[in-house]
Structure formats: C-alpha cells, structure tokens
Amino acid sequence: MTTTAMDEPAAGSAAPANGLPRLLPLVPGVPEDLRAHLARYGRPPYRGGPGLLIHGAEAAGLTGRGGAAFPVYRKLAIVAGARGRKVIVANGAESEPASRKDALLLRVAPNLVLDGLQLAAEAIGASEARLYLHPGVSPEVLRALSQRAAAGIDWLGVTITEAPPRFLAGQESALVNRLGGGPALPTFVPPRVSERGLGGAPTLVQNVETLAHLALIARYGPRWFRALGTDTEPGSMLTTVHQANGTSQVIEVEIGTPLRTLLASQPQGAEAQALLIGGYHGAWLPMAQAAPLTLDNATLSQRGAAIGAGVIAALPADRCGLVEAARVARYLAVESAGQCGPCLNGLPRMAAGLAELARRGHRRQVRADLERWAGLVTGRGACNHPDGTVRFVASALTVFAPEIAVHARGHCSATNRRPFLLLPDGMPTTEDDWI
C-alpha cells in the first residue's frame, strides 16, 4: 500500500487516540461552537485541488451512513469526473421516525458536518452547496453557518432548504425534486442524480453523518479511520437504540460492536422479545437469534438484516409484535408517494392485511394474500419504498408467526396495549404535505 498525502494527518492537527467518541463531542450533549470546534480540530484542511479527498475516502473504505452503505469514494469520483456545473447536498432529512442520530449530530457537531460538506464540495469542484433539513432547523446549525461565514472558512456558501416531514423526503431523487422547487416525490431512475440531478447538473448527495466522517478522514487520514470497525466495514457509526424499557439513546460505536452491548439489561420479565434492526425498512429478528450478532452488514446480512438507518429497537415482551408491525405498515403505506401502481395498490392492502392479523380472529386467506402482494410489489416501484416495506412486513410475519396462531384462536399474548414504536401523528392528505 503506497502512502499518499492523504494517508498522513493534515499538518497542525494531532490525531486523537484510537477511541470513541469521534463524531460526538467529548462532553456528551454539549454542542461545540465554532471556536471550540477549531480548537479541537483546526480549520478544514482544504487540499487546494479536486480529487485528493477522494483517494482518502477510498483508502478509508468509508460507506454512506444514510442507509444505503454505498462506497463514498465512488459517488465522489462519478460527480468529480463529470463536466460542467456540479452541486453538493448535505442530506440531513432524517425521515426515519425512529432515528435521531442526524438530528443529534447537527445539534452537537454541526461544524464537523459543514467541514465535510465544504471539503467534499472542493473535492468534486461543486459550485453550489445545499443543506436539506426537516422543519425546525436547530439554531446550532444556523449559528454555525453564520459564524463560519464571518470567519471566512467556507469554500462555498450554503443554502438551507426545508424537507417536508415525509418518509420519502430524504430519498435521493425526491430530495433533488424538492430542492428544485417541486414536491419531495421520487422520480424514475435512470438517470441517477449523480449524473443528472438538480437543474440537470451532476449532484452529490451525502448523509450528514457521512460528511462528518469525511471531515475527520481529511484531517487524520484513512489509517486512523480504519483503526476502528472491521476490515470490510471500517470506522465508527451513530446508532439510535430504543431499549425495551422505553428509553432511547444515540450512541457512537465502532462497526462490528456486539448487539448485546448496545442493549441495556432489563429486569426479569421485561426483556425484549425481538429486535427491529435498521429502522422501518429493516428486518425483525427474534431476540435469541439477534443477541449474538454484531453490528455490521457482513454479519447481519446472513440473517436477512442490514444496518440501514442505524436504528435498533428492542420490542418488550409484554407488547404484541403484530400490533406494532401493523402500526408501522400502515404508516409506510400512507407515506407511499402513490405514483406507481404496484406500490399504491399493494402497500395499503398489506397494511390492512397485517391489521387484520393483529385483530382477534382473521380469515385464513389473509396470509396467502400478504405473501402474494409482497411478491407483487418488490422491485416494481420507482424507488425502493415497496421493497423496504416488504422486508419489514415479511420479517414480522416470520418472527411473530407464533403470535399469528395465537390471534387466530382469538387471543393475544400482550399484556400492555400501549404503542411502543415511534410514529408521527397524522398523515399526508394534500399535495402541500409533500412540499
């Protein structure tokens, strides 16, 4: 392995000890303003030319932290190699209701995110930088932007655009659609946004956590980055963990951490019955199966799961998995863009089917219907919303199969009827709800 300029830490900044936290501040929950940020990290190490950061991202093996885990250097390279005007977007529209990591990161370490945005903008030669956020932009972000502008450390001015509170708002093509002034609805791909995006220009879309990692790789080098994590999935990541007792935290862990260490021990009888891994497009696993696993895609994929949005939710034993799954399935259905026939028709039917299973006594036909609809919608939408929904529903049907039999006989094992999984109130009804 040859050393390049990117392998060595940027001059003037000492690499921190090989531990955590990396992204989150040293004092938990306390945001670092620009002065504290500069004291800890120094100014963003602009390379003075495009491309150098891309080599670093490749050597570091950084993958996207927005859910798709796509190799970052490849997206950077595609957009950097394109001709003409280019756009970069920091995607902070954390549309997953159970995820809070991006919101936290933007609140406590906005400068890291913005450093990453600027460094990536320089690397690809962007002429326009956007920050895409849900309503109620944290004041820390606004303060960071104005402080940076005053200090003159930003390569490009950053424009904030609001994302509607939709599950699909953070989807790449929906994001570009919204940034262009339209609704946050996905569009048909090809062309990918990295080839033709905002205003027809190649557009690099990166999750805010990914950009924060990039900002650190630029300073401390790929070798430092690889000191944590696994060989194929290096680095640290933020994960939102929902404990069985109803509390939740955002913690930064190295990839490959055993799931057991994430879960707080619960008193006897209040343990979790199952884990939902990856968020509402993720997969359920029975607790016995999930407990020995580690938080990395290589291990999780063997069980049909993936890190996804980095959400781990432990379902307490006193709840009904079918009821919870039906609630989420209904949410996923109403959050469909309603543009593609299979998704428009399949998702609400699946949600209704799951709701029927969650009631006491259901028709025998329902399970067969659910399987048929799941097969019909997978891969037949313009985005992967139907696919993710099927992953969630199918894993729920598998993991909670015993409960389905219980319900068929007119009973339910749950002793607690309070809803557990976090879901927003209300649902989109008009076109304005997508703007």
């Binding site: 039917r349 949600a351 709701a355 008009t430 076109e431």
Partner: protein, 209 residues
Amino acid sequence: MSGTTAFWYASRATGIVSLLLLTAVLVLGILVNRQGRLPGLPRFAVTSLHRNISLLAMAFIAVHVVTAVLDTYVNIPILAGVVPFASGYERVWLALGAVSFDIMLAMIITSLLRGRLNRTLWRAVHLLAYLSWPVAFAHSIGSSRDLQHGWLLDLGIACALIVAAAAIWRLAHAARQLPRAARVAAILARYSPPAGTKGPGQARERIAR
C-alpha cells in the same frame, strides 16, 4: 356555385370526410385516455386506430387544401392552408381552417418526436385538440354552404354532438379523479373495515388517472 370544376367538388368532398375522420380521431383519443375498448377488438386497436386515422385525416386535409388551391374559379394561395388570412376568398372562414390545421400539425409533429420531448409540453400541445376541432367545425360550416342545410347539416350536428358527449365524459372523469396525495388513503379506507365487518376484499384497483 356555377362553373365548378372537379377540383372544387373534390375539395368539398374531402373536407366533409376530413371532418368525419377528425371526429373519429378525437373520440378515439378520449377512448385511449380512458382505457376504453372497442367491442370485439384488442386493446391496442384503439390506440392504433387513433394514430392511423389521425394521419389519414391529415392526408385528406392536404388533398382538401390542394384541390381548393388548384381550382381556378376562386383564387386561394397555397399559403392559405397554414397561414390565416392569406386568402382573399372567404377570408375569415379559411383562416379558421388554417388555424385548426396548424394546431393539428403541431400535434402530429410533437407526437412523432414524443420520446425526445418534455411530457408536459407534449400534453399541452395535445390538449389543443379540444380547440382545433371546434375551430375546424366552424370552418366547415362557414366556408361553404354545404353544411348549412340538408343532410350534411344533420351530419355536422351529429359530429358536434358526438364530440360534445365525449368531451363531457372526459371532463366528468377528470372531475372525479382523486389527487395523487389522496390515493393511498382512499385504498386504505376501503380495505380497513370498521370493527366487526369482514377484511380486505379482492377487488381490483387501478390508479384513478
């Protein structure tokens, strides 16, 4: 009209046939949009007939214009086929014909280039059909006395009524259409019964477009 030639007869005849063909094209176009069927024919027949008859109509209109120009009894320059008010004879009525034909040309050209064009642009031009037909109809009634009495008048009125009925059918459907943002909720409501009733049905649901 004394001293008429074969060209003049041909122009009047092809004009009438064109009106009939255009009526058929418009109705077929609405049928395509509504995914309607012609009895006994496969689905692709509707869209195929719509496209082919539109080209046939253009051919008849071309003959209709050329024969009128070739006829020496009145002086109509060839330009009057596409340029309004270029003719001294029946200035206004022929202008209407030219306008209508111009719109049709735009519709045909945009349809042939459809793959390369912005969808909204194609749709906007194609919707001008609802303007082109009445203008063509007005041209038919005003430019010669043929459709102003007798069975040809009845024929003209019949065409107008058919077009009006089809257009109303189309508008009624557009009015009933659920906006995109309301579609999923509607299906969900249909398949989520109140407590005590049976579960999801097996009915087909199409996008209400």
